[in-house]
Every structure is written in structure tokens, then in C-alpha cells.
Amino acid sequence: MAKGKDKKEDPSLPEDCIFEIFQYLSAEDLAHASMTCRSWKKLSEKNSLWQHLCLERWRTWPTPSPFSPSEEPQQHHPNPQEQFRYTTGNVTTSGIEVDLNSAAHTHHEHMDDMLSDPSPSRKRPMRRPSYPPARIEDLHRPRDWYSASEPPFEMDSWKKVYRERHEKDAIVRELLQEMVQDSRSRMRHMEGIADLGMVMARDVLENIMAGRDGEEKDLSRSYYARKTVARLQRGWVLDQWRAFRENEIQFPIWQGCGLISMYSNQGLDLADLDRQFQALADEFLRFSPMDQDEHESVLTVSDTAAANVGARTFDRYNPGPFSTAEAQPWSSTESHESTSDQIAERYRRHYERQTERLRDLIRFFTVEQGFKGNVESYYDPFNSFIDKVLSRKVGIPLSLCVVFAELALRVGVSGVELMGIPQHFMIRYRPTIPAHLGHLPGSGSGLRSTPPSPTPPTYYLDLFHAPHRLISTDEYDDYFVSLSIQRPSNIYRDLPVPPVEVYLRCLRNIILAVDQSGGALRFGSDHHNSLYSAMSQLLVLNPNEENWTFYDLWLQYLTTFWPEDVGFVRTAIHEMDESEQRRMQARGYGPKSAPLVGQRTHHVFGISRGGHGPEWLYPLHQGSKNPARQQTVRILRSAVQKLEIEDDTGDVGFIRRRRRPRVTQERKSTAGQYSGSDSPVVTEPQVSGSPSSPFGRDRQRPEPEYYVGEVFRHKSYRYLGAIYGYDLKCEQPENWIQSMGIDSLKYGRNQPFYNAILADGAQRYVAQENVQVMFRRKRETPATVLFSSNGESSSSSASTSGAGAGAGAGAGTSSDSDVPNVSFTVTWIERDPLTGNSVIRRDTHTTDLSTSEPVQSFTHVHVPSSSTNNTAVEQVVADDGDEVNQEEGEEEEEEEEEEETQDETFELSLISLEDPFATITTPPGTPGTPGTTTTSISAAAAAAAARPEASELGPLGIEDIGKFFESWYTDGEEGHYVMNKEIRRLYPTEDFDY
């Protein structure tokens, strides 16, 4: 309360008024208010005020824990092990209806007793929410979860929560800033953010990405924020799998498949998938509403569930609708004491009705919605991603079955189970027996211990091969004959496939698909994203020896494209060590006799083999000196080491820029392939540290014309982007080439393709003919001649015969003389348009025409003239073993060659500027050796020749791109990016309007 010195002069306001006023204050003002006096402090620290401020500023919150038993919507998906145990029961839909919390718990405690070492995922409470959230969207419903009196993070006041998050935000911002400004330790900084956890870091990063909440709109920050969120999401997904593997969480199968997709699809949200499924279900229900009873009960149940905490998605799995709906025949059975015939009749009718409904659903799914097997492109990895299956409506058997089973559940058709058989995946359907507890004797346990009289019929359904009709048990055998698949053993026919098997199969399918479509050996496409995603998840979900062979390729991908994921490698090493420890423990405390090699010691944990717990995952049977294990750990460790060193030195980017390839001695062997050899043949781009990288590329022409860092506009799609890398020809897999119609381009696939980052951070692969470079303007004045002499004799200054090309002709004149060596030096001053600093550039060009293996060397000297940022003198030498003909027409060739080699030098220097590690330092070629003639030409003309219309913006680092774009947003959604005003002012000739 304000204390008036003089009551009359300044009346004091009652506390409730002050409090009212406080509600309008920002956190900062409120903090100030709290520092004035005791009563204001007390008032200003009320939880309701700060809760409001917190919830307004941050959307992402940890799920509260522990949940009270009544609030555990996630738990009704049973643990897969238990599901296995209930294999004889057919009342489940993939076991979904069986409530087995207690069993899962027992299992847990047991594990804890047995293992002195807690599971790795439990050691990092901040890395993932403390209880199964199963989807990130759930984190956004804090109002339901926290009361004013119970703040999250086990803190005692919301003000402290605010302060905590405020400070964490600052840390995130700071680390991000470090990442943007300094290429060194980027990985480390990103891991620092990852250590804060998804919950803490996500909001501020998203704000930065969107330029919301007072965050500057800066594409560079946005770019790294996006990268970081993607990294967080991948880590989060892996944490989910780890927890799933350890039986800590369960989730419906579609969510598991959604997780698989989320690893590589940053924008994917399980809530979104949920909506898509629900939209499908609603569509079906519009045509074919549930029975009145069913429908009402479903409504009731979902309303209740919606009111329940965070249960929106999971009410679909509430057995309520089915059991209550189907309680009808049972309750009447009991109350009326009907005869067994009547009961049987009721059953039959019930089954018929159910099956009819399933047929409706199949029709809806395959005909109306048009879901079908992707026969044309079976090995498209997207067939395995559930989000893609929903949007493209094509899939492979497994993914179609998952989608169908989920849909069935949502429209109230129960009894649909996934049936995984070798080489195929199908649906098994058995109309459910009404399982309403209390009415059905013996149903309480979920076991069909006393099956009621008429056994429900069983059907099988193939969603991949048309016609999609229900196959009865009688037709079952013949069906496989017709598919030319060996009839699977009965075990597959009768047992539901455990969720973990579904996931593993799905992941293996992705790997197989990429492999089959020939993408596994090439980097840089969606396929590789898919492959990396699948391998990462597979190695977490099943880190068994059988998968260790994947580590090699996985590491290649990771170190090349996702170096920020180095933490995953560390975790893998940690888990390997841990499994070894467990193994030792198991030996020490297990049975007297050490387990024989090859023998699994399941009994050590007292768990039946039915589970998929750690005893499956950690190969206990290995000898301690397992060479495979040692080898694996060794390559993992060396990868971490390598990445860490790279990170320290800054030679690690999220996008590894490919160098302009250097002409080397390899040239000799390949020169013959090209008649005339008028252009330098380039060797494979070097990706440092991965000599075994499977880069296979042909040597193709035309040559790349554009520089890394150049900003361009796409000729037909008009978007703006910046080049960060290129291939000499299209390196995308065949089906990409086909689908993009690359061959219909003028130069088809045999032209350079550029990796480009667009203003919005998206990436494209653009054919050279579609690139229209921006900001390239002719120099208005020739560069100043500083220096133009070399060697003993200074002969004719080139008389330029034409603009641009004339310089080349000038050089060509030198070869008119009989002296076989040509050498010239070109020096010019260039102003760096970014820094405004003057830079002296000098090129030395020597051609030894007398030897059969001529050496052509270029020296590019980059001398900072003043206190520029470029401190190092960089020398780039391109050795060119190009054969120079002395026949007629050499002028032309010489000219061409010169231009091209000059180009190359320039590009080398460009890249060396932005990437100090690309600099190749070699002693410059010796000019003016005895018996040579050195030709000095007009530097200005040479410069014009050497640098035709050089990009004035020069090289843009990926980091710099953000400076040249600005963006606007509409309704919180991402809008477009445009060049900012500064650029428009500098380059008024370009039309930047969208």
C-alpha cells in the first residue's frame, strides 16, 4: 500500500487497487515495484501475477510430475512386453485396451533392483520431460497443468520461475550469438543450448526464428536457431526412444511412427498428425455414423477425457467407447438370462454388424480416400513416413496398416490388429468381444480364459495389394500362394506384432528403401536425411550388435552433415560402456557358471523372453574382448575426437562448403578423355577427413560459373537464394531427377547444380541454367595498375583487341614468340564492398610451354592494405597440368584457358577468404626461369579478363546472408523474405518486389 506522507495531499490506494494496477505491469516494472517497500513487495510477488506473466511469455512447459493416478491418460497403452504375454487374448487392438500399468511398474522396480546403474535416459532429467509427453504439443497446455500455487520446476514461486526462464533465455541468446559470430565451438555452443533442454530453449529459439517478442529479425540468428531447434528435436526424439526402450513410456503406434518422422521433419507436430487422423475419422463417421449407442458413449467419453488433463489425444485409446457400447448384448444377456441360442444369435449379429462396418471402412480407406500401395515406387523412403503416407495416400504395407488400424480405432471399429509377417504386413481382424468389465465373466483380466460360446470369425486384410477384401481363415493359405510368398508360420497369424517390432521394421524399411533406390552412397538429398534419421533411431532403439555395422555409415553422415549431433555419438559410447558394465555385473552376480558365448542370459533379470527390455538390447553374451565392440567404440570415439577438434578450430559448419576443386596431378590421367583439353578438369571436391566418403561423380561439363556465396534469383521460380555448394552434375537420385523433370532442361542433368540456401532457410538444388546471379555488375572503372612486371624481359604490353576477351588475346600474343614459357602477373586493387577496405590482389601466371607436362601456376596474393579484417596473406596456387597446344587456334584456347583458370584462382581465393582451411599454401611457381619470356600485360586488361563481372558483393558467408534479407510475418506465420533497404539502395537496378 502506498503510504501517503500527507493523507490529504495524496490519498493511499487500498491493496486491491494496487494489485489491480500491478496486473498491468510488465515483469520488469513489477520487479521494480517490488523493490520499493515491504507491502508492495508482498503484493507484487503474488503468484497469480507472475503465473500470468510466465504463461504469456513462454508456451512450452514441462509436463507436471508426478501425475496422480487418475491423471494418467498416457498409461493406457500397455507395455509391449505385457502385450506379448497376453497374446492369447484377442480382445485387444494391438493390446491397446488392456490396462497394465501395474505390471509395467513391477517390471520397472524389478529392473531398478537388478541394476545398480540407472538407465542412461534417467540420468538426464532435463533432456526430456519427466513423464511421457508423447507429443510436444502437449507442452503447450500449461493452464491445465499448473495452478497459481503450484509452479513448475518444483519452485516455490512463479516469480522465481520467471526469473529462471528469463535467465535461461538470456543464456540461449548468448550461446546463439556466439554461434553466429564465431565459427569456432559452434557445436559446443549448440550443445550448451541442448543441455538446457527442449522445454527451456524452445520458446526463445522459436521467437528468434520468427522475430517475435522483441527478437531482432536477423536471418543468421534465425538460421542457427532453426538448426538448434532441429538438433533439439532430434535429441528429443532419441530420448523418447530411449525411454520407450527402457519401458519408461508407452505411446500409441501412430505416435511412434510420428516420432520416426519427427526426427527428420522439424515442422512435424504430433498434434497435427492427430488432427489429420481425426479429420479422416470424422469424414468416415459422416458417411457411416456409429450406432447410436456407440456414438453417444464415444461423445461422452471424449468429453470427459477432454476435460481431463492433457488427454486430448489419448482419449482415442480409452477403451470406454467400445466397452460401453458393446456392453449392450452382455448386460441384456445377464439381466434376461437368455438361452445360449439367443446368446449365440446375439453374438452372430454383433459380429456381422462389426464386420460390415469394417468393410465400410475398407471401402472408405481404399476407394474414397484412395489409400494404396505405392507399387510404382515401392522403394521411396517416404512410403515409410506416416506423415507422408497421410498426405500422399500411398505407402507400403506396414505404413498403410498403421494408418488403417489407427483410423479403425477412431471410428469405433475395434479388433483390428497389426500382423507382421516375413516379407509382408497385414491387418488381422477379429470382431471384439464386448469387454465391459463386470458384465463379462472372466474378462476382467483381459484374457479370454472363458471364451463365450461363438468364437468370433477372424479375417485378414491386405492393404497393399488390391483388391482389398477380407480374407477368411480358409482362404488364408491360398492367399500367400497367390502372392508368391511363403506361407508364414502360424505364430505370425496368431500373435500381435509388438510395437517395438513395428518401429524397428519401419526403420529398417527406410534404410532398405534408400539402399534400394541407390541413394545410400550419395550425400545431400532427402534420401540421406531419411537414411540418417532411420539409422540414428534404429541405433538407439536397438543398439544391438547386429546393427553396429550401421555405425560406420551413420558416422559418415553425422560428421559430414550433422556435426552438431556429436552428442549422440557420445551417448552411444556411453551406452556401449554401460552395457559392458551391465554385462560384467550380470556375470558377477548372475549364475555361478559364466554364460557361454552365444547364450543369452535372460534369467539373470528374471524376465521372460517375451519382453523387449534391455536384456534383448544389450548383447550379454559377448566376450569382454569382443573385437566388434572394441572396434565400434573405437570408431565412435575417433569420430567424436575429430568433430571436437574441428569444432575447436572452427572448421565445421552446418553446411560444409565445398571447395572449388583444385586441379591436381590426377589431371594427367584424365586429360586424354577430353579432346582439346581446353578446360581444367576438376578433381573430386575434398571433404576433409572423410577420404572414404562415397562421393562418386563423373567429370562433366559445362563448368560451374557461379561462386559460392553469390546471391541469385531462380530464373523461373523467382526466389532468392545464395549458393553454398555445387555439384558438377546433378547428383540427386534417379527418381528425383525424374520427378523434377531435370532431363527436360536445356542442359539436362549434365550441368552444374548448386546447393542453395534460400532466404527462409530452405534449401534447394538448382540447375546452373536456372541461376540468375544478382549483384554482378561490370566494373565502371578498371582496377588501378599497381604493378606489372615479371621476369627478365618485359615485352609487349598487350594491345587489347576487344573488351574483356581482349586481355586473353593479349596473353595469347606471348605464345607467338618461340619462347615456350609464359608468365605474367596481374595485380589490382579491389575494394571489399562489405568492409570498404582496399585489398591488393596479384596473380602470377606462368606457363611452361616447353615441357611435355606443362606447369601452369597461379599465385594469388591477397594483401590487406590497411587494418582490414583479413589479416592473413593468403596464397593460392593452382597447378594446372593442362596441355597447351602450340598449334593454330591456340590463341583461342589460351584465352579460354586463361579465363577459366583465372576464374578458378579467383574462386579459390574467394573460398579461402571465407574458409581459412580451404587455403592451400604452396610456394608460388617460379616465374622467369632461364629461357623464358615473361610477358607483362596491362593489369587492367588482365583484371578485366581475370575477373569478368565479378560479384561485387563478393563471397557471402552463410552467416552473412541474413544481413541482406529482411522478412515480414503475418499472423505469426512465416511470411516472405525480401532484400533489405540497404541492398535495394545499393543495387537499385534490380527489382526486388515480390
Binding site: 502506498a2 503510504k3 501517503g4 506522507k5 500527507d6 495531499e9 495524496d10 490519498p11 493511499s12 490506494l13 487500498p14 486491491d16 487497487c17 489491480e20 494496477i21 500491478f22 496486473q23 498491468y24 505491469l25 510488465s26 515483469a27 520488469e28 516494472d29 520487479a31 521494480h32 515495484a33 517490488s34 523493490m35 520499493t36 517497500c37 515491504r38 508492495w40 513487495k41 500470468h52 506473466l53 504469456e56 526469473r163 528469463h166 535467465e167 538470456a170
Partner: protein
């Protein structure tokens, strides 16, 4: 039908019932007592303040009744004051506080809100010392307490 209101210093104001009923207090009184000609005494409000309050109510006589949804209220903003209200509120601080007190007493929510927003805007961006000065608050912290509080709220200084 007009209603007569009597202020603390016994000044009578006659206003339309519609205007008077902007005050929930008066509205309830009229409902409880029934319509009568006898003036309604408002012993907590001086004539100067009551005049202001009536001015406000006259201007807002046709406003729709505010729906009370305290629970789902998004964060309150103090930068959405209408222009007329803003002008209306440009009074000295004493009067401002008096108006808030009267609005609180008479239960005129919109006026109370506007008053509070105005005060909040005064607090905005001020240091604790400045706030004390404006509101005549006596610093009753011990030096130790003050140091502690300062430390606790340090975060609010950055960004």
C-alpha cells in the same frame, strides 16, 4: 427517470438512472430499495470527484456492459486506453487516486480499469526510487533486505 446522488460534502447531483447505473453499487441499491425520489448518499465521495465520475458515466452511458471473464482474461494491457478516457484521466495525481478509490467504491469496473492503467503507465519504466517518489512510498527495508532484494531482481535490469 433521474436519480439524485449526494456527495460527502452534501452536494446533490441529479443524473439519469441509466447513467447512475453504470455504478454497480448504485444499481444494486436501486434494485434493493426500489425506485424512490430520495437522494442516494455517497458518503465516501467528494463532490469534486463525484462530478468527474458522473462525467465519465455520462460519456460511457451507452457502452455495453462488460462481460466478466476474469479467468480466461489474456494478459491485461495498459496501452489500450481510449482517447477520450486518456484525456479524462489527465488530472493531477491526487484526483487520479481519488477517482480510482471512488470507482472502486462505486463499483464502476471500466473506470477502475482505466484508472489503474493510467497509474500503471506512470510506474512503467521507472526505477524503484522514482516510484517511491511518485507514490510517496517510504522505504521500509533494512539495508540488508534491500541488498537482498536488489540481488533477487537483478535480472530485470538486463535485456
Amino acid at each position: 427517470m433521474p436519480v439524485t446522488l449526494t456527495s460527502l460534502d452534501d452536494v446533490k447531483f441529479t443524473v439519469d438512472k441509466e447513467v447512475a447505473e453504470r455504478s454497480i453499487l448504485i444499481k444494486n441499491m436501486i434494485e434493493d430499495v426500489g425506485e424512490s425520489d430520495s437522494p442516494i448518499p455517497l458518503p465516501n465521495v467528494s463532490s469534486a470527484v463525484l462530478k468527474k465520475v458522473i462525467e465519465y458515466c455520462e460519456h460511457h452511458r451507452n457502452d455495453p456492459v462488460q462481460v466478466q471473464d476474469e479467468t480466461d482474461d489474456p494478459r491485461k494491457r495498459s496501452n489500450d486506453i481510449e482517447e477520450w478516457d486518456m484525456k479524462f484521466m489527465t488530472v493531477d495525481q491526487e484526483m487520479l487516486f481519488e477517482i480510482i478509490l471512488a470507482a472502486n467504491y462505486l463499483d464502476i469496473k471500466p473506470l477502475l480499469d482505466v484508472g489503474c492503467k493510467t497509474v500503471a503507465n506512470i510506474i512503467k519504466g521507472k526505477t524503484p526510487e522514482e516510484i517511491r517518489k511518485v507514490f510517496n512510498i517510504v522505504n521500509d527495508f533494512t539495508p540488508e533486505e534491500e541488498a537482498q532484494i536488489k540481488k533477487e531482481n537483478e535480472w530485470a535490469e538486463d535485456r
